[in-house]
């Protein structure tokens, strides 16, 4: 059986491993979001021709998944370990499998499978092709080749690896409830998160002020549009994230019907599409500084002047 690693040790090993593969270690982004993908370090950076390799832990809030801290596997907030590499390396699957070995998971002692799971986030105008990775029947990772982000086709294609840290840790530590996980050597996950889980669930399902949330959603949307009109990409993106999280809160409260969902999602999607375009335009204006191949950089910049 595998060596018992604390959650923080798992994070440290993954960081060390992916840093060695050329990823920058970024920090979690400070606006609420439903998934690591929505961090600007993935969503925005996946767009456009510039290379980008990054890894980071992202606390991800999903109000509707809250269970008052009573369900052993469902959480209002869980932690994703996100790896984004663009262009996707030729050996990305092997890189991933080696990362599991770093965590003491020897493939020969387990059943590891890549099961088709084409990822889609319609509200952000994103679609990708890939797998969920199963470790002895448990989905521990989402593995995606982005095809479209913010409504834009990927060129080059970014690969995204999202480890579900709680799931993975539960497996490694062989516990049945995430709250029994050892975060560090002497503090349990439950000691840190059980109370916020309860409170956030209570808030999301029972206490949140629908009127206020609806008002905020409209205001955030308005602000995002205003900022987009002024090409203030990053502040605009923050407000889009706020729209998304506010929608998730409304949804958890049961304030959004199945069919109304479509309307809200399309409003967020329209913002995501606009910010995606604005981001590429802004990077162009900067001259795509992350492209180190000067000839290619000049070509890409030339293309643009011709387009205009």
């Amino acid at each position: 059986m595998t060596e018992k690693l604390s959650v923080q040790e798992i994070i440290l090993r993954l960081q060390k491993y992916w840093a060695a593969q050329g990823c920058m270690l970024m920090q979690a982004y400070d606006t609420e979001k439903g998934a690591g993908t929505m961090s600007p370090y993935t969503f925005l950076r996946a767009i456009g021709p510039e290379p980008w390799n990054a890894a980071y832990v992202e606390p991800s809030r999903r109000p509707a998944d809250g269970r008052y801290g009573e369900n052993p596997n469902r959480l209002y907030q869980h932690h994703q370990f996100q790896v984004i590499m663009k262009p996707s390396p030729e050996n990305i699957q092997e890189l991933y499998l080696n990362s599991l070995k770093e965590l003491g998971i020897n493939p020969l002692e387990h059943d590891i499978r890549f099961v088709e799971d084409n990822w889609e986030n319609p509200s952000m105008g994103c679609a990708g092709v890939g797998w969920e990775v199963w470790l002895d029947g448990m989905e521990i990772t989402q593995f995606t080749y982005f095809q479209i982000v913010g409504g834009l086709e990927m060129d080059p294609v970014a690969s995204e690896i999202t480890y579900g840290l709680e799931r993975l840790s539960s497996y490694i530590q062989n516990v049945n409830s995430v709250f029994d996980l050892e975060w560090s050597d002497d503090v349990l996950y439950g000691d840190i998160f059980k109370e916020p889980e309860y409170e956030h669930s209570k808030y999301s399902f029972e206490v949140s002020d629908q009127e206020m949330l609806l008002k905020h959603f409209n205001e955030y949307e308005h602000e995002a549009k205003r900022l987009l009109d002024q090409s203030l990409v990053h502040p605009a993106y923050d407000y889009i994230l706020k729209c998304s999280h506010t929608f998730n809160l409304l949804d958890a409260r049961g304030a959004v019907s199945v069919t109304e969902r479509a309307g809200y999602l399309s409003r967020i999607r329209n913002l995501a599409r606009r910010v995606a375009k604005e981001f590429v335009a802004a990077r162009k204006r900067r001259g795509f500084p992350l492209i180190k191949d000067e000839k290619k950089r000049q070509e890409l910049l030339k293309d643009e002047t011709e387009e205009k």
Binding site: H110, R113, V115, V157, S257, T259
Partner: protein, 693 residues
């Protein structure tokens, strides 16, 4: 020596459901390619796993056969000038044929001399031809395609390696940056890369590397392993063919194993347990010999039995977490009453442009009650139908359906029974979703069938009225499937109703009872009529009814699904009659001439005092007889009555000038013909039939 060729495409894991169609496609493309290239071969054997698609082609010809042919060029007088010198035309032609003017001969074609070149085309050797397999590979199409890295090329998954071996020689070509080689890859964890000396040792070498490349062999292994587990434990395991196919395409080296879960979860309904095991985990469920579900499952590992216990425990843990969730929902859901759930449906939108789910149920109560009376349900049945229509969507807001959406209806039935609803009501709740697919099972009970058509008709009515009408491939709410469902259900139950008048009636009733949505539904009736007609046409096409017949019976004067279908069948049956052509010609002649008048149906009194010849009276009497009770007969009987008018019609036309100068006479005759034409249109627009001599 026989030429054997091995082609292998190594890929990152292909989706399980794509493996078999893809290998079939590859085989077909390769076969077509070799045929087009005139390379004969004995056999193509296929190999497929999640990570590879391969063909082993035996006994290929050494080369294409040579071709000898004479190629005709320009006429001699164009090929040579007056002095006998070759013109540009002649030089160009011969060069185009890879020859020179020295090779030109003249031959006589219908009295004119033409230039000819005798051409010998040497067949290309097979190894050269096989480099064209590159295009066979790149031309493949898949349901979902993807790009990767810096490439714009799209494929099912990234291509990792290529093997192309003709006997012991690599056939060179390159796709993106992958060049063909003789090295294949073994099992991802158990095997390693292996060099193939020749094409023939492919399967054997891969077996050594823990890959069973032959999909049929692999499936047989899995089947035997599972059967052995069943036998050892005295279990029954239903080897669901779809699940077996999927599992087979998730593994390269299968090892079946059994796991268990706690007895306490058996309290959860079987459907939930089976969905958790089969759909979510790709497990086979296990029963005893009597078919009772047992707390065990069987799964298949992609690997050998090394440390198998880890795998068993891991899978048990995952399943337990899922069942724990299901158990939680099952218990929580039972703490609330159906009335609580129905109340919550007031806040759940059916569609934001239409209404809430609760309001939909209100409308469906009206529609289903109308149908219930129309189709002669008993008072008890009407009571159950009313109750079912009041609550039938309640399970949508239960926790279980929130978690397992595919169990909608199924859970409704379970929870209804637990809440003391009658079996008929409970059954109707699960049946109202049927048919779930184009050829899916139909509801069996009368109540379930009526609820199903009422629910679907309401969706069609309201979505049309809200402007969300399917067009082309755009049918996000699957309204076509719902209309097809209605056609299939009423056809199955043989329930006759006139569509237009029914729609008018239920809209009126909804308005009376204040449950109509704030939408113009009446304005959509004719569009819905056309929409349903298209589905009837499709239904008849699927029955193998001639296209013109299905067209005719859906172009008549009224839409009554059961009657229209019966008309189609009746016409199809009679289309081989000896006098079918004559009958149709007589009837359509009536239809065409009747169009010259425009009389409403209450203005069709024929005045016998205006008759000028016997044939008019004969036809008049015959029509009066045929019309008696006509609209309440079967389509078959109606057709026979119409066919019986043939002789009278023909005699009538021979003896009577319809478009008489005297307006009175003319109108009297047109009224007579219109009467017949209306009877014809009741059956269908027979003028659409194609009757060939």
């Amino acid at each position: 020596m026989a030429n054997n060729f091995l082609l292998e495409i190594g890929l990152e894991e292909i989706p399980a459901h794509v493996v078999t169609p893809s290998i079939n496609q590859l085989k077909k493309r390769a076969t077509d390619f070799l045929k087009a290239q005139r390379i004969t071969f004995a056999n193509i054997k296929t190999f497929s796993t999640p990570r590879r698609l391969a063909l082993y082609i035996t006994d290929l010809a050494d080369k294409q056969p040579d071709i000898d042919k004479s190629v005709k060029g320009p006429a001699k007088k164009i090929a040579q000038d007056a002095d006998g010198n070759w013109t540009k035309a002649a030089v160009g032609f011969s060069r185009g044929q890879g020859a020179t003017t020295d090779d030109i001969t003249f031959k006589d074609v219908k009295g004119t001399q033409y230039v000819f070149v005798e051409k010998h085309i040497a067949g290309k050797p097979v190894d050269e031809i096989l480099t064209g397999m590159k295009n066979v590979i790149t031309a493949m199409t898949f349901p979902t395609m993807m790009k990767w890295g810096n490439y714009s090329f799209e494929y099912v998954r990234p291509i990792k390696w290529l093997v192309a071996l003709l006997n012991d020689q690599v056939v060179p070509f390159k796709i993106l940056d992958v060049t063909t080689d003789r090295i294949t890859s073994g099992h991802r964890f158990l095997g390693k890369d292996v060099e193939l000396a020749n094409a023939d040792e492919y399967e054997e070498k891969l077996t050594e590397q823990f890959v069973v490349a032959d999909a049929d062999k692999r499936k047989e292994m899995i089947t035997k392993q599972i059967q052995k587990i069943a036998q050892d434990n005295n279990w029954k395991i239903n080897l669901d063919p779809d699940l077996l196919e999927e599992v087979n395409n998730l593994v390269e080296w299968p090892t079946a194993f059994a796991g268990k879960f706690d007895d306490k979860y058996l309290k959860i309904p079987d459907e939930v347990l089976i969905t958790s095991m089969k759909d979510h985990q790709r497990f086979f469920y296990v029963t005893d010999q009597e078919g009772k579900l047992l707390p065990h499952f069987v799964s298949v590992r992609n690997g050998n039995d090394y440390d198998l216990q880890n795998v068993v425990q891991g899978n048990e843990k995952v399943l337990t977490a899922r069942l724990e969730d299901a158990m939680f929902f099952y218990q929580e859901d039972q703490k609330k009453s159906i009335a609580d759930y129905v109340e919550r449906l007031k806040k759940v939108s059916f569609h934001d442009k239409i209404s809430t789910m609760y309001d939909k149920m209100q409308r469906v109560q009206v529609i289903s009650h109308y149908f219930g009376q129309l189709f002669g349900l008993s008072d008890d049945q009407l009571k159950d139908l009313k109750r079912a229509a009041e609550i039938y969507k309640f399970d949508l807001v239960t926790g279980m359906v929130g978690e397992f959406a595919e169990l909608q209806g199924v859970m409704g039935e379970k929870y209804a029974l637990l809440n003391g609803e009658s079996e008929a009501v409970a059954k109707a709740i699960s049946e109202h979703y049927m048919p779930i697919s184009a050829n899916g099972d139909l509801p069996q009970s009368d109540i379930g069938s009526i609820l199903a058509i009422a629910d679907k008709l309401d969706s069609i009515l309201t979505f049309f009225a809200a402007g969300m009408i399917p067009s082309g491939s755009n049918d996000p709410y699957a309204l076509r499937r719902q209309a097809t469902g209605i056609v299939r259900i009423v056809s199955n139950k043989n329930w006759k109703f006139d569509l237009t008048s029914t729609l008018n009636k239920v809209i009126e009733l909804q308005k009376q009872q204040n449950v109509a949505p704030d939408l113009d539904m009446s304005g959509q009736i004719s569009a819905i009529d056309d929409f349903v007609k298209d589905r009837i046409k499709q239904f008849l096409d699927d029955l193998g009814i001639r296209y013109d017949i299905s067209d005719a019976v859906t172009s008549g004067s009224h839409t009554n699904i059961v009657f229209n279908i019966a008309s189609g069948k009746a016409l199809q049956n009679h289309s081989d009659d000896r006098d079918f052509k004559e009958v149709i010609e007589s009837l359509t002649r009536v239809q065409r001439i009747a169009k010259k008048g425009s009389f409403s149906s209450d203005d069709l009194t024929v005045d016998p005092s205006l008759f000028e010849n016997d044939s008019e009276k004969a036809l008049h009497d015959a029509v009066a007889k045929a019309a008696d009770g006509y609209t309440s007969l079967t389509a078959e009987a109606d057709f026979e009555r119409l066919a019986g008018l043939k002789d009278e019609i023909n005699t009538y036309f021979d003896a009577t000038m319809i478009m008489a100068k005297d307006e009175k006479l003319k109108n009297n005759r047109l009224r007579q013909l219109t009467m017949i034409a209306n009877m014809i249109m009741f059956l269908g627009d027979l003028d659409k039939l194609v009757v060939k001599g």
